[in-house]
């Protein structure tokens, strides 16, 4: 029920704040998504979409940081170096 899926904003349409929306690409499937709760989202951003609404915009730096840390864990364990 609370499933929310990341998609990439292709282009933003409309200027009524309640109906500012975007075409969002989900692995090739395109949907129109309401941007009222992510007014800062621009083309190229990844947003998390739930029942037709973008509920948050990805923090790219934060995402890169976490993933680097996770990859480090993976690489270290692989070489048996972690402890």
């Amino acid at each position: 029920m609370c499933l929310a899926v990341p998609g990439r904003v292709l282009n933003v349409v409309g200027d009524d704040p309640a109906f500012r929306s975007a075409n969002v690409d989900f692995c090739g499937v395109r949907k129109n998504v309401n941007l009222v709760y992510t007014p800062e989202a621009v083309a190229g951003d990844f947003v998390l979409v739930h029942v037709g609404f973008a509920i948050s915009r990805i923090d790219k730096e934060e995402a890169a940081r976490t993933f680097q840390y996770l990859q480090q864990i993976g690489a270290l364990e692989e070489e048996g170096l972690a402890r």
Binding site: C2, P6, A18, N34, F46, V51
Partner: protein, 362 residues
């Protein structure tokens, strides 16, 4: 897909399992609150990868499951009225009330339509000015802002033929109920990331310090969940109990202010009954008086019903992590996803349904 695939990387997943195994020194019972997380854990068999000291129990976090029988009965009743179009999320159609479900109502001629978004229900109302269009709205804090927007917009447009039958529930009061139970076994929580994208995690900080319980806000992919488990085990081993945010790529402490603002405008906090559990104080949202014209209970003059739940269902114990679905005598026999007796079997995100799908033969 970026931001999904990397969080399914098996090498990282196994590395995290290794770390957890090296860290844990005694039995730890952890609860994931959200049904979406339950589903991922069962689907990837994460419980079986973990060291035997770490036990995962499933929380009450499936809004479809905990929607009370009474409200389902009301939805079926409204759908059967002449000149009504009843709309809802697809998950809600199969959920049995005490007598029937919405699919059956549709088979009997009721106009019941599945919508992907509440804004689709609004469009149906615009396109059908001579009919009453009712949106049967369920959900946690994740879904409530979308549902709120539909009502707000209906009022703004003066769309008098649109109303909402609302059954919204809130996560922190349910966690509080579990923590206050004298028989609770839960030592740490994975808090629901998508709920927190909206609400932030201040409310969870209150719970963590009041009950000395570590809470990690977690995501929904296998690597997200394993990292959350690692953070919880580390806190328990070090004797800490704070809120940590594993899902920082999508949320911060404050949450989504625009969504919170809309929620406060349209809803107020109220006591709410949870199917399989009973009433939990301050655990729901109801429409404010200013939106009474779009409140289906008012529009159709519904009176509160009271219905008995099947006696052999032990879902209250399952949803608090006190019993496993397989401990229930009805599990897989009289109670299956096609013929659910209780709340956790009704949606694929419920604990009993997830066990039935992935662990029936264990």
């Amino acid at each position: 897909m970026k931001y999904i695939d990397e969080y399914r990387d098996p090498q990282i997943a196994y590395a995290l399992v290794d770390r957890i195994a090296r860290l844990v020194t005694k039995p730890r019972v952890l609860m994931e609150v959200c049904g979406g997380q339950t589903h991922t854990l069962m689907r990837y068999g994460i419980g079986d990868l973990l060291p035997k000291e770490v036990e995962l129990v499933h929380g009450p976090g499936c809004p479809v499951c905990v929607t009370p029988l009474e409200i389902l009965d009301q939805a079926v009743l409204i759908a059967g009225l002449p000149n009504v179009i009843l709309t809802s999320y697809g998950d809600m159609l199969r959920v049995p009330g005490s007598q029937s479900d919405l699919f059956a109502a549709r088979a009997n001629g009721a106009n019941v339509r599945i919508v992907y978004s509440p804004m689709d229900a609004l469009k149906i109302a615009r396109d059908n000015p001579r009919r009453q269009v009712v949106f049967f709205a369920v959900g946690f804090e994740t879904t409530a802002p979308a549902n709120a927007m539909a009502v707000w917009q209906a009022k703004r447009e003066g769309l008098s033929n649109f109303s909402m039958l609302a059954s919204h529930v809130l996560v922190p009061p349910a966690m509080r109920m579990i923590l206050e139970s004298p028989v609770s076994r839960v030592q740490g929580f994975i808090a629901p990331g998508h709920v927190c994208t909206i609400m932030g995690f201040r409310e969870y900080e209150v719970l963590a310090s009041e009950f000395h319980v570590p809470i990690v806000v977690g995501g929904f992919e296998p690597v997200d969940l394993l990292e959350a488990i690692l953070l919880l085990v580390a806190q328990l081993e070090e004797g800490r109990s704070v809120v940590e945010n594993q899902y920082s790529r999508y949320l911060d402490r404050e949450g989504n202010r625009a969504a919170q603002h809309m929620l406060r405008d349209v809803f107020r906090v109220a006591d709410r009954k949870w199917r399989g559990i009973g009433e939990i104080p301050n655990s729901g949202l109801e429409l404010r008086e200013e939106y009474a014209a779009h409140n289906a209970e008012r529009v159709f003059g519904l009176t509160p019903l009271s219905v008995q739940e099947p006696r052999e269902c032990i879902s209250a114990l399952v949803l608090q992590g006190l019993q496993k679905p397989v401990d229930c005598p009805a599990f897989g026999k009289r109670c299956t996803p096609m013929t659910p007796l209780g709340a956790p079997m009704v949606s694929s995100e419920g604990a009993c349904a997830a066990w039935h799908q992935y662990k029936r033969y264990v």
